[in-house]
Amino acid sequence: MKKGKVSIREHGLVPKHEIMEGGEVKELLEKYKIKKEQLPKIKSSDPVIKEIKAVMGDVVKIKRRSRTAGKFISYRLVIE
């Protein structure tokens, strides 16, 4: 990151993104009985994805605040 720039991940409105481990991903896919392609997508050009250095094919776990459920975890597949 360039000097003087603030990480967008520290911003209060940006939910927490993490790259998932291979095993975790496998578990997730099994839980929902889906293939990777059936996950929601996120572009690799997404600012957060760029910052956490996720690459195409990675699955990120997104923890965000939810108006209905308080906390909610979503998963996204990184695409081009």
Partner: protein, 1041 residues
């Protein structure tokens, strides 16, 4: 029958060959019917392209009307014409291809180098997908360092492809040597498109780039234009060496300069295929070729600028700025020259869509079945618009041919050509910008191809996505509070028209016989279907015979009658409760009858609204409607989790009057109120009183609250704050609960109303706490019964008590009037004047983020708003709860205190876009005021009330403000309608699966948990899964703290 799955859809253009092949007849004659009344051979209503006259047979397939689907014909156009739908694509293709050779103006592959030390091992490695060291070196010497992760793939044609970043390289084996080529733009694009195709993704974006890049090029690098040559006898060897080394020899530079084509400083040279070199300057490319001991210099063929004149004209401008029109023939020739292999660059397949097919030489003629003529009452035939258009085309086509054969001057030919183009263009689309629409003799624009398909009434939205249905009825709705909320009153006339098919079995034979025997009387039947499948209409003359004959296996189309389930709908169907299942109740009259309590979900009123009714035809549909769509299943709205069906207007007023204070009722009176509902026990009376007061006897009495309590479930415990609540807690005061002076705190214990008055919060639609609780605790049937009972009590009581509202109810005593005028309004006006004075004296201080003027306006608006509120308070005080309007406003039955204020006290400030009215003349709103007058009166403050009447200027300001409201609603409805359509289209396939995930049609997850908490709003407690407070209260008992 085996079911087939659609694997894919192929789009393409019709080639002239294909058009002729599928044509059953060539059409030459523009006439339709001959004098004998039969279709003319070779004419547009040809017997070989379909039949629309009963009795005639198709000459192509032999089918009769209805059997023959129709066949295409064709017209041979005398000269090619542009297809308007593709005019823009044609233009882009002309721009992207060479005017001479037709190739796409993109750089082809060029030679880079030869791999010097290649052997069999090298190839083997390449085949394995590994880049051998020697190749890596070769790349490096050409300034293309390869990173380690770059691989190589073998193509079908035996070549290898290396992709690094943006560049693509091709390795070819030629004459035993491995040569490396730079793929150039063209190959790169082709590869890219191929890859997208494999991935089955859209190639549109790549194609767009192809057009963009190709149109930028000014020259064709495939065609060559000879410029000059250099005699190389003397220094040939030296020159050639220099060329091969990648430096431009000085001598060559000088020659270029001498020829008037100086090379730019950073011009580069590279070796091309067979004894050629390419010099790339700033924006020019030259080729140097060794031919017969000479070095000949060529440049690419310069392209000319093409201008596109909408809709179908192309003009080429040459180097001398001369314009030459490209006739469709020229355009077609150019498109023909585009090689098959390069068509893919445009995202098309040469096999299915050659570009020249976009220029029409043959026109398909749709079968007559697609453009049937209608016979008017006068016996005259009226042809379809498409036929009219085809007649025009054939006429001009014929004239064109005749004129050309007669050797008419070029000018006339061109005019006719233009006319032919016009007719063919409007045949496809009669709404082309820049072309006057073709019109019918009456002046009506013709409905041609595009108009048939496009828009709301077009084939897609009008005929395929939506069409008219049988077994439906539509009429005006009117109220009937005596029918149940899940009933619908159906006029007998309609009930006799709508039918349900019933199969006759041993069990219902007797009943069906009775029904048929009724003939045309109401609970009868309209048709019977016999065992042989023949449908017989029941008439006055045959019903007795049919009734005798009827037997098991027949089918009877019986009238709908009381208790049948039907669907009832009001447009716009914005949410699911716009269509609900009701039970039929046949009644006299001509309107559908509807209980007012079900108006809110349909958003219906009785000012002339019409509604639709659909009769369900299968047992499955009826079961589904009963279980899912019945009114009682939809009392709670899935949108906000509160009842959407409930009391409105008089229902609320009635119950409010009944339960307000402590009204005493004698036994007879109680029975009168309860007479329409099923109550067997009045329970204990509240006490005794003397009735009539003073003269009568001591009799037991019941209170209004007691009467209402009789319809509540016996165990119901509930407390809530009613509509009358003035938010004491929020204002920092103490809520007095059951001692509330306004009776705003409702306490229900063991099914008895202990305190509080029943109002909108208790039984109103959208709010109704009691309905909500009964629904959740006792189920939908109990909730339905409660609403029915409550509305009956309400109506019975209000009928008895009487309730009316008139102009005199807006009267305020003169003291109140004076206060409004002198205290509320005048004071505000004075304050406004002071503010203006302060502003003019520049004493006013601007609020943060606002200009001085904005501040002034804001303060004035506030002041005038306060004035109206103050006036409203005075009016409220003077009118009191005895006033019908106040009662309605307070109980939530209808209207608001603001409405009342405006009627009785002061209408208040009129506004446009949230500001005081400013528009009109320069510096003033009306000539009645001085320019620059900012006072309340001059800027739209209406101090009169509606009752008193408005002054002329006030009336005008009110109209100005009112117009904005009118425009707003008009704009909002159309906008929200379109937005709704888009949302529905986007979301219609989403589904909540059993694992609570929301998925779309391909099972791709959209949301991992429905609503993130997987709560159905209609099942949860106002957005929460459970209402903890309520459960605690239930468990520990209803004791107060």
């Amino acid at each position: 029958m085996r079911t087939k799955r659609i694997k894919g859809i192929k789009f393409g253009l019709l080639s002239p060959k294909e058009i002729r092949k599928m044509s059953a007849a060539r059409i030459i004659t523009a006439d339709t019917y001959g004098e004998d009344g039969f279709p003319i051979e070779m004419g547009l209503v040809n017997q070989r392209i379909g039949v629309i006259d009963p009795g005639l047979r198709c000459k192509t397939c032999g089918g009769r009307m209805g059997e023959c689907p129709g066949h295409f014909g064709h017209i041979e156009l005398a000269a090619p014409v542009i297809h308007v739908g593709y005019a823009k694509l044609i233009y882009r293709m002309l721009n992207a291809t060479c005017r001479k050779c037709g190739r796409v103006l993109l750089e082809g592959e060029y030679f880079l180098c030869t791999v010097t030390d290649a052997d069999a091992e090298t190839e083997r490695e390449l085949n394995k997908g590994v880049i051998p060291e020697e190749l890596r070196d070769a790349f490096k010497t050409n300034d293309v360092p390869l990173s380690n992760d770059v691989g190589v793939t073998k193509e079908k044609n035996g070549e290898w492809v290396v992709v690094t970043g943006k560049n693509t390289f091709i390795i070819k084996k030629e004459d035993g040597e491995l040569n490396i080529y730079d793929a150039g733009e063209k190959r790169s694009f082709l590869r890219e498109i191929e890859l997208q195709r494999e991935k089955q993704t859209d190639v549109g974006e790549v194609v767009k780039r192809v057009f963009k890049e190709a149109s930028k090029k000014g020259v064709c690098t495939y065609c060559e234009d000879y410029l000059f040559s250099i005699n190389t006898e003397a220094a040939s060897a030296g020159l050639e060496n220099g060329l091969n080394e990648g430096v431009i020899p000085e001598k060559l530079k000088k020659t270029f300069a001498r020829e008037g084509r100086p090379l730019s400083k950073n011009a580069t040279i590279r070796k091309g295929i067979d004894n050629r070199w390419v010099i790339t300057g700033k924006d020019k490319t030259y080729k140097v070729k060794k031919e017969e001991e000479k070095l000949n210099v060529y440049c690419g063929l310069p392209q000319r600028v093409i201008k596109y004149d909408k809709p179908t004209t192309y003009v080429e401008i040459d180097e001398e700025e001369r314009e030459r029109r490209l006739m469709p023939t020229d355009v077609r020739e150019r498109l023909e020259r585009i090689p098959d292999e390069e068509i893919a660059l445009f995202g098309m397949r040469a096999k299915d869509a050659r570009p020249e097919w976009m220029v029409l030489t043959v026109l398909p003629v749709p079968p007559v079945t697609a453009r049937p003529s209608i016979t008017l009452e006068s016996g005259q035939r009226s042809e379809d618009d498409l036929t009219h258009k085809l007649v025009d085309i054939i006429r001009i086509n014929q004239r064109f041919m005749e004129n050309r054969d007669a050797g008419a001057p070029q000018l006339i030919i061109e005019d006719l050509w233009e006319l032919l183009q016009y007719h063919v263009s409007t045949y496809f689309d009669n709404e082309i910008a820049g072309l006057p629409p073709a019109r019918h003799r009456s002046g009506r624009p013709l409905k041609t191809m595009s108009q048939r398909l496009k828009g709301k009434e077009g084939r897609f939205r009008g005929s395929l996505s939506g069409k008219r249905v049988n077994f439906s009825a539509r009429t005006v709705i009117s109220p009937d509070p005596d029918i149940d909320i899940d009933e619908v009153g159906v006029p007998e006339e309609i009930a006799k028209e709508l039918t349900i098919g019933v199969n006759v079995t041993e069990r219902n034979l007797v009943r069906m016989k009775e029904i048929v025997m009724k003939g045309r009387e109401h609970p009868g039947a309209n048709y019977v279907r016999r065992t042989d499948g023949k449908k017989v209409k029941i008439t006055e003359s045959n019903y007795e015979a049919l009734g005798e004959e009827i037997d098991v296996g027949w089918k009877v189309e019986r009238h709908i009658g009381d208790g049948d389930i039907v669907l009832f709908n009001r447009q716009p169907s914005l949410h699911r409760v716009s269509l609900m299942a009701h039970y039929v109740r046949v009644m006299p009259g001509k309107t559908f009858r509807l209980n007012p309590a079900v108006c809110p979900p349909y958003n219906a009123d009785y000012d002339g609204d019409e509604m639709n009714l659909h009769v369900l035809q299968t047992e499955e549909a009826r079961a589904e409607a009963k279980i899912l769509m019945a009114v009682k299943c939809n009392i709670i709205s899935p949108r906000f989790g509160r009842p959407i069906i409930g009391g409105i207007h008089d229902y609320i007023t009635g119950l409010f009057l009944l339960t307000h204070g402590e009204k005493r009722f004698e036994k007879e009176e109680v029975l009168e109120v309860l007479r329409k509902i099923d109550i067997n026990d009045l329970g204990e009376s509240a006490g005794t009183f003397v009735s009539p007061p003073g003269i009568g006897m001591e009799v037991p009495y019941w209170t209004g609250k007691q009467i209402f309590s009789m319809i509540l479930p016996k165990e119901l415990d509930l407390q809530f704050r009613g509509k009358m609540c003035e938010k004491c807690i929020e204002r920092g005061l103490v809520c007095e609960k059951e001692k509330c002076p306004r009776e705003a705190y409702v306490i229900i214990k063991k099914g008895e109303v202990i305190s509080g008055v029943i109002d909108e919060m208790a039984i109103g639609s959208f709010k109704g706490r009691i309905i909500d609780r009964i629904f959740r605790q006792y189920g939908e049937e109990a909730a339905k019964r409660f609403i029915n009972d409550a509305s009956r009590i309400a109506i019975n009581y209000i009928l008895q008590a009487g309730f009316s509202f008139g102009i005199s109810d807006e009267d305020i005593p003169s003291e109140g009037k004076r206060q409004i005028r002198e205290e509320a309004v005048r004071e505000a006006e004075e304050k406004v004047d002071e503010l203006i004075k302060a502003y003019e004296a520049e004493e006013l201080e601007a609020l943060p983020g606002r200009t001085l003027e904005e501040t002034l306006e804001l303060l004035i608006m506030q002041e005038l708003g306060r004035a109206r509120d103050a006036a409203g308070k005075i009016a409220e005080r003077d009118l009191g709860m005895e006033n019908a309007a106040v009662l309605m406003a307070k109980s939530g039955a209808r209207g608001s205190m603001l409405n009342l204020t405006q009627m009785a006290a002061c209408v208040g400030q009129q506004s446009v876009r949230g500001e005081r009215i400013r528009r009109g003349y320069q510096g003033r709103t009306l000539p009645h005021f001085k320019p620059g007058d900012r006072s309340a009166n001059a800027r739209g403050f209406v101090k009169s009330s509606f009752k008193d009447g408005l002054s002329p200027t006030e009336y005008f300001f009110h109209a100005v403000g009112g117009r904005e409201a009118l425009v707003d609603t008009a704009v909002r409805t159309s906008q929200s309608g379109y937005f709704q359509r888009r949302l529905v289209n986007a979301l219609q396939d989403l589904e909540v699966k059993n694992d609570e995930t929301v998925r779309e049609i391909r099972d791709t997850i959209v949301q991992f948990k429905y609503g993130e908490d997987s709560v159905d709003p209609s099942k949860g407690e106002y957005g929460k899964v459970v209402d903890i407070d309520e459960i605690i209260r239930e468990v520990i008992g209803t004791e107060e703290r």
